[in-house]
Homo-oligomer: 122 residues x 2
């Protein structure tokens, strides 16, 4: 994926701050929370949140709240569910396609909470 084009296609200016955020998300194997994402990127938090908001508006990034009450961010990808374990707080991306027959709605984000495979056995 080409971050430079991704940003420009949405009529956003290509700044180092934005590059850094998106690079980090691109190379992450799972959604990242504020600390994880912001860490190492020297940028004011106001700028960070303004950029995140822009990214979300432009559908480049999406976010959701996890069990630890933190927001987690990821690059927008083909629709897939996130499973959040209420015991161990782990976030998993679910690859199996889930079938909702909700006519008229368009679904952009799916969050399932419960007990993951491991914690369910205990």
């Amino acid at each position: 994926m080409d971050i430079e084009n991704l940003v420009k296609r949405k009529n956003l200016k290509l700044t180092t701050a934005r590059m850094e955020i998106l690079e980090k998300l691109l190379h992450a194997s799972r959604p990242l929370c504020y600390d994880e994402l912001k860490n190492g990127i020297s940028m004011d938090k106001a700028t960070f949140y303004r950029n995140i908001t822009k990214f979300e508006d432009k559908m480049i990034v999406n976010s959701f709240e996890s069990n630890d009450k933190k927001r987690y961010f990821e690059l927008n990808q083909p629709l897939h569910a996130h499973f959040i374990c209420v015991i161990c707080d782990k976030i998993e991306c679910i690859k199996e396609p889930l079938d909702f027959n909700l006519k008229g709605y368009s679904i952009e984000n799916i969050i399932l909470k419960g007990k993951c495979k491991k914690c369910n056995q205990i």
Copy 2:
């Protein structure tokens, strides 16, 4: 539903604060956020949150974050999904049973985000 028994069955003391929170949730037709739920109940916010945490631990209440970044609370009910519209921020309880074949997981909470029927037409 009998709130008094609900609380006592979980080995929680029956206080007026708790009664008030649960009464309000019981009579609400949709999940409520902090302002809505706390409003009119004279109770310190520390107490409020401590009770909410207890209720969640004991599976009396569950909560999720909506699009406005606020947490919404509701009495625990038979599993059903919540649809949150990213345009109009409305929260709907979805009655249609949704079928997941996620073996090994136990699902306690389903949140779908996207465009609701109305906003999808625009």
